[in-house]
């Protein structure tokens, strides 16, 4: 059961980081425009 939960927990972190990647990419674009 723990291994099953871990897959979900890993997906949780991946989804969280995907949003941070997107945010940082927006920062960089704005900085380059400035």
């Amino acid at each position: 059961m723990l291994n099953h939960w871990l897959e979900g927990y890993r997906a949780f972190w991946e989804a969280r980081f995907a949003q941070l990647d997107h945010l940082l990419s927006t920062f960089k674009s704005k900085k380059n425009e400035a």
Binding site: L2, H4, W5, L6, E7, G8, Y9, R10, A11, F12, W13, E14, A15, R16, F17, A18, Q19, L20, D21, H22, L23, L24, S25, F27, K28, K31
Partner: protein, 171 residues
């Protein structure tokens, strides 16, 4: 955006630890701000379709980030991060706990000790963040992972919704 950057997720059941390593395609100051300022944390800390709303933030040793993780059904799960140490642009540590709406800790889940390390990589073009999660016991770790599983599953469903919507727009 570079997609082939490091993402590593390692579980150490013997020591009740999870270690996460991730490289971001941004400089260290920008990455540090994203992890420490509420206006940015609110934009990424919860995987969609969840969202985060900061009630208060006091980023200093002894200070607290008090926030709600909000489900698509508008159910609020209150959380706190009690900051223990901060080395500017290098590392911060904190105790992460579930709480009620007044910030009183929920003891059933215990607290998880987080250590978050930052280092500039690739000539300062990218930043590697290493996270060490230390759980009080295997039982607590399993409980929190179970909660994470539910949220991870919801996030995966949310991502699938986005993908399907994009496919519908551009068949």
């Amino acid at each position: 955006m570079t997609n082939n950057l490091l993402f590593d997720f390692h579980v150490d059941k013997e020591n009740n630890q999870i270690r996460v390593a991730k490289t971001f395609d941004a400089g260290l100051p920008m990455t540090w701000d994203a992890w420490t300022k509420p206006e940015y944390l609110d934009q990424w800390w919860a995987p969609r379709p969840y969202r985060v709303e900061t009630k208060s933030m006091d980023f200093r040793p002894g200070g607290r980030w008090f926030y709600a993780m909000i489900s698509p059904e508008d159910q609020r799960h209150w959380c706190v991060a009690d900051y223990k140490s901060i080395k500017n642009l290098m590392q911060f540590t904190y105790l992460d706990s579930f709480a009620d709406e007044n910030g009183v800790l929920v003891p059933a889940f215990g607290s998880t000790h987080w250590t978050v390390d930052f280092s500039a990589t690739n000539g300062s073009e990218t930043t590697q963040v290493n996270i060490l999660l230390q759980y009080e016991s295997l039982e607590i770790m399993e409980k929190i992972i179970e909660v994470g599983f539910r949220e991870g599953f919801s996030a995966a469903i949310g991502n699938l919704d986005e993908l399907l919507s994009a496919l519908k727009s551009n068949p």
